[in-house]
């Protein structure tokens, strides 16, 4: 009888041990997973005005030298701007009244994806040892893939698109250095356009990107210049 009870107790302990091991492993995996998700994506290098960071459903006021992690959503107020230095040395300059999500960031200088919901973002992509990282900026109607190092992305909603007045949401991409490939994933025509340094393109609504035009030509079309 004693032997039976001890045997049962042993089986019980053995079962508990397996459960505790499994639980420990689950806790470890959860913690490790959380740690991976919390990997620093970069830091706020410069802050002008007011910006908010949305992290895990909480709004935090951005401060200089603050660490940003993958999944952070950053929003600037009017007359504010933020410069972020990513872990690979690339820089993101977020203009006023703009909003981005650091979707996934570089841990090995590859594959960085930034979502731009509104406003303007300047991306200065760091080239490490001559290798171009996979760097993409996504807006609701455009994807800009860096083949170069320095470009502006601006998403505008609620204003007529120049040249396409019926369209009220569009993306402008201007390239300062290198080349950027631009496409509209919501377009039925999957054409992409290569935009070289000194040129810009517009992606109107669900249409393919427009042919590149000289960067900043809008400044020359304003009244007073002729």
């Amino acid at each position: 009888m004693r032997n039976v009870t001890e045997s049962a107790r042993h089986r019980c302990y053995s079962g508990l041990s397996r459960w505790s091991l499994s639980l420990t492993w689950l806790v470890f995996v959860a913690v490790a997973g959380n740690a991976a998700a919390q990997v620093g994506a970069g830091t706020i290098k410069e802050l002008r005005g007011i910006a908010k960071v949305q992290r895990n459903g909480r709004a935090i006021t951005a401060t200089p030298a603050m660490t940003l992690v993958a999944g952070d959503k950053l929003e600037t107020s009017r007359q504010s701007s933020v410069t972020i230095e990513l872990i690979d040395g690339s820089q993101l300059i977020l203009s006023d009244a703009s909003s981005i999500l650091i979707d996934r960031t570089m841990t090995s200088a590859t594959d960085s994806k930034i979502d731009l919901f509104k406003g303007r973002l300047r991306s200065v992509v760091n080239v490490i040892a001559g290798k171009l990282p996979g760097f993409e900026v996504h807006t609701p109607n455009a994807v800009a893939s860096a083949r170069g190092t320095d470009f502006d992305t601006q998403y505008i909603k609620g204003k007529p698109c120049p040249g396409f007045p019926q369209c009220l949401r569009y993306t402008d991409i201007g390239v300062h250095k290198g080349t950027v490939e631009v496409r509209n994933p919501t377009s039925l025509k999957p054409n992409s356009v290569l935009v070289a340094a000194g040129y810009e393109t517009t992606v109107p609504c669900e249409l393919p990107p427009a042919p590149p035009a000289p960067l900043g030509i809008g400044d020359l079309t304003a009244p007073g210049y002729h």
Partner: protein, 247 residues
Amino acid sequence: MRSLSLIWRSFLIVTLIVASHAAAYAQGSTRFLELENPGHFTLRLFAVGYGAEKYGTTNAGLEIDQTLTRAVNVIGRAIAYQVYQGSGFDSPLTPGRHSSPRNFGSFEGGASFSPFRATTFTLLGGEDVGDSDAPVFENDFSSWLWLQSRHPINLSYSTSHYFQNGVTNGLLDARTVAFSTGRLLLLLGVGGAIWGGGSVGQAKGQGGPDVGFFLREWRVSIDVQAGYGSSRTYGLVSFARSFGWDE
């Protein structure tokens, strides 16, 4: 009379350009009525130097521009002129015997209208003060064609009438973006001026190639033109810098 005829011809060309734009960008009257949001204020500083065998002048000033609606801006200009010798394409003065420089200021106000993208008409009126002290009227037009291409073309004219000496002038310019880099735009083209009437009498003209640079980061434009005409060999250099603020 010949100068006026040429101005009318250029006006006709411009009308055809506008008509083609109108067909492409028919948008109704909403551009004229919708308030620009956010509004934009622009300050432009400029300086121009002109030298020819028969005429020499410099002018410098500022222009302020405030958006009202998407198609209407109000504009004000204040310019200080100095005429060193002779009478030329943009002088409201009658030729004088004395050779000392003559100075005057010009204050103008008006509005610009952009019925379509990259096309603007500007109407300005004002008065000179100093050695010239009569009213002045100015009308500018600028249109960019094939804007969504690597080499857009700009056609522009500017006409002024000086009530001081009764002279009317017209400046014409056609140019294209030759190339663009991350830092600057290079523009190449041809330009010239036609002027006549009043104290000048018969139409006169000049023309030649022009080169322009636009430094994007600084919003600075530098334009150089040289050529030959009624004032013989001439050269023109202009410099402008713009500052802009969203409201």
